[in-house]
């Protein structure tokens, strides 16, 4: 994660305003670096929220386009990674709302990777195990799952709170509850 941390510390907007011409190549490097480093973690986060790889790809691309626009506007970003995840989170919420206006943080159940195993005996066992895992993950509330996921992306509680629009104490409580539930469910696996 060292590369990510370095990127997270860059203030891109400031760079845009003050960078001399000979450093122009660095902008390209920074953008490419951000895309290379963060697209997959962001994509996986969005997959976890949406459950649809195709939609997740679309949202992820949209996030980077927005990042590009943000950089062009000259606004400083202390942590592009946190910014990208926050924008991604909000875009997914918008999609949820457009399909079901009434709900809030209540996305679809995690339901990916169903067709990855052929129908051999081993594959059936693997599918059964996956079904148990899916059940365990789906017993978590959406917020618990997202908090735990963002934690595995090395975000601090403060950053997770910012991405999800909740308080730090709520983040901690969601992580605690999520882990407690997993402790109970893990014996099934």
């Amino acid at each position: 994660m060292a590369a990510n941390d370095d990127l997270g510390a860059l203030t891109l907007g400031k760079w845009l305003f003050v960078a001399p011409r000979e450093e122009a190549q660095t902008l390209d490097q920074v953008l490419s670096g951000l895309f290379d480093e963060l697209r997959l973690p962001l994509y996986r986060y969005v997959v976890a929220m949406l459950g649809s790889p195709a939609e997740a790809e679309d949202v992820t691309q949209e996030c980077f386009v927005k990042l590009f626009l943000e950089m062009r506007s000259g606004r400083g970003l202390d942590s592009p990674k946190a910014w990208l995840f926050r924008v991604g989170h909000n875009l997914v919420l918008d999609r949820w709302r457009s399909t079901s206006p009434a709900h809030s943080l209540d996305g679809p159940a995690l339901n990916v990777a169903d067709e990855r195993y052929p129908s051999s005996e081993e594959a059936l066992l693997q599918q059964e195990r996956l079904a148990l895992m899916r059940a365990a993950i789906n017993r978590l509330s959406t917020q618990q799952r997202l908090c735990l996921h963002l934690r595995t992306e090395s975000f601090r509680y403060r950053e997770i709170a910012n991405i999800l629009g909740v308080s730090e104490s709520t983040v901690c409580e969601n992580i605690r509850r999520g882990l407690s539930r997993l402790i109970k469910d893990c014996h099934e696996l």
Partner: protein
Amino acid sequence: MNSKLPVEAHLTEEVLVRFLDGELDKRANEIAARHLDACWTCRSKREQLRQAMDRFVQMEEALIDASITAPPSGWAGFRGKLDIASAQVPCFGAPSPSQFTRVFGMIGAALAVAVWFMPSSSVSAMEILERSAASEQPLLQGKSNPLVLQRLRVESSHRTAGLSLWNAPQSQKFQAKWEAQDGDLHEDLERMYAANGLDLKHPLSAANHAHWRHSLKQHQDSVLQHGELLGVVTTSNAPVRPGEIAEAELWVRRSDWHPVRQSFRVAEVGWTEEYRLVETAFHVETLDADNARVFDTAPLAIETAPLRVHSTAPVIEPASSPAELSAPAQTDLIQTEIEVLALLHEMDADRQDSAQVERTGDQVVVTAYTSSQDRKLELESHLAAIPLVISEVHLLSESPAASAFPETASSAVAPSSASEPPLFLKPLVQQTGSLEIANRIVSDQMDLLRHLCIELAAVKSLEERFPSDVRQVLPSRSLNILDGLALDHLDAARHYWAELERNTSPLLSAMKISAGDPANVAVSCGAWYRLQERPVDAAERLEDFFTRAFTTSAGAPSDVSQESIVAELPQLRSTLAAELAEGCVH
């Protein structure tokens, strides 16, 4: 009924989780580390949590195929989207457009870029103000002669008042009614609005913010996002005189741009006064003979005023009777209630902020008490996004009287046994050889019992709130949320029960009760709302027994005696063990 014994407690799960995540400050971290060095129980719990974290990573890796290195289209089209953005959006302040042309290329395209301007933290202050100012129009156009009903909570310098407004724009009628006025807040607010040229007929409005902003020679805007809300903060950069606004904030819902909160910071001599207006209800209906009574000369009592419902969904309804227009369906209210309960539980507001939810005739009222302004804003912003909800979130520090707080169980019980010594503490001390150890065991047990009772009471409450005839008419989504909520409480109860049983042997031994497995009783595993025995009653009785047996706390009923404890306690354990068995999936 906390025993309040002076013992050092184990680390809480929250502290352990923060410890594992490196989220404790230096001193707390040192204390936790020291405790962990000395405490096997907490080390064991920490390992469980660590393993659960690892397990979560494994599960997600397995479910979101870890081998994924590219999405279905392999990022196809992304470079094109960037090029379009580069070509179509003006570049403000960037060093050179040609630089971006060089970096991304200019291949052109016909894709629209409107998606980039959807509500987000990058939307401009002006756009928020304009959209918010126009947000009421679709609602008004849906009525032949609209009547806008709005209720606000106004706060300033620890003063609070309610303000109800009735506005019929086509008939040019207006009525305002202050409620529960605290001090001279009404006069102060009117004076401030008049001095700054604001419209008191629309006290919480984008128009007022825009008007003041426009009057400034120099100002600075910030756009903020908090949960479901977008905020505009405008600060005057020029010196302000006493009575003039120095800074204003407007918060609107991202979903429909409706303004829900506004504040003005006003310069006074040597200090700054802040006025906050929070919308607690909003509704548009058709003006008719019935609701037009509000414009009668004689002021109406607030209780009889026809401010009936909070519904902000911009749906244009077909013409029908006023009653049909204003009364939300009961199922809608029940669904809202479930959604609110789940949200509050998710935010831990049911415990942390003593949040209470009440379904009245046409709305869902949430009352909560928070310890900080940030937490208050967080709760209000989440609740504001749910139609039909009225939120009354108070700061603990601003609470007018202690009677406003929910009465705790410990203060509600008569101290019938206050002067009597604990029945079994002495043998426990002899058995453990130390008063401190005995106290620690008892303290842990009472703490776990209290939590067990809270969780089971929550399940019971859900069962009573949503009986079978109500559940039958609910859509599956609401039922799923309700089930999830109840199961979460039951899971927590199971966890506390398992911990409690691990802790219970020395206590049973002191009471000369067999510590073996509880006797088998019929297990009523099934849907959570079909619990055959009321486990909450058993848990509360058990709490009474342990209180009387090992603590000097008041509260145990008079029928709790040495004999009744010995006679009844095994049956209570059996009941709880059956209902909360690990393998019992409700």
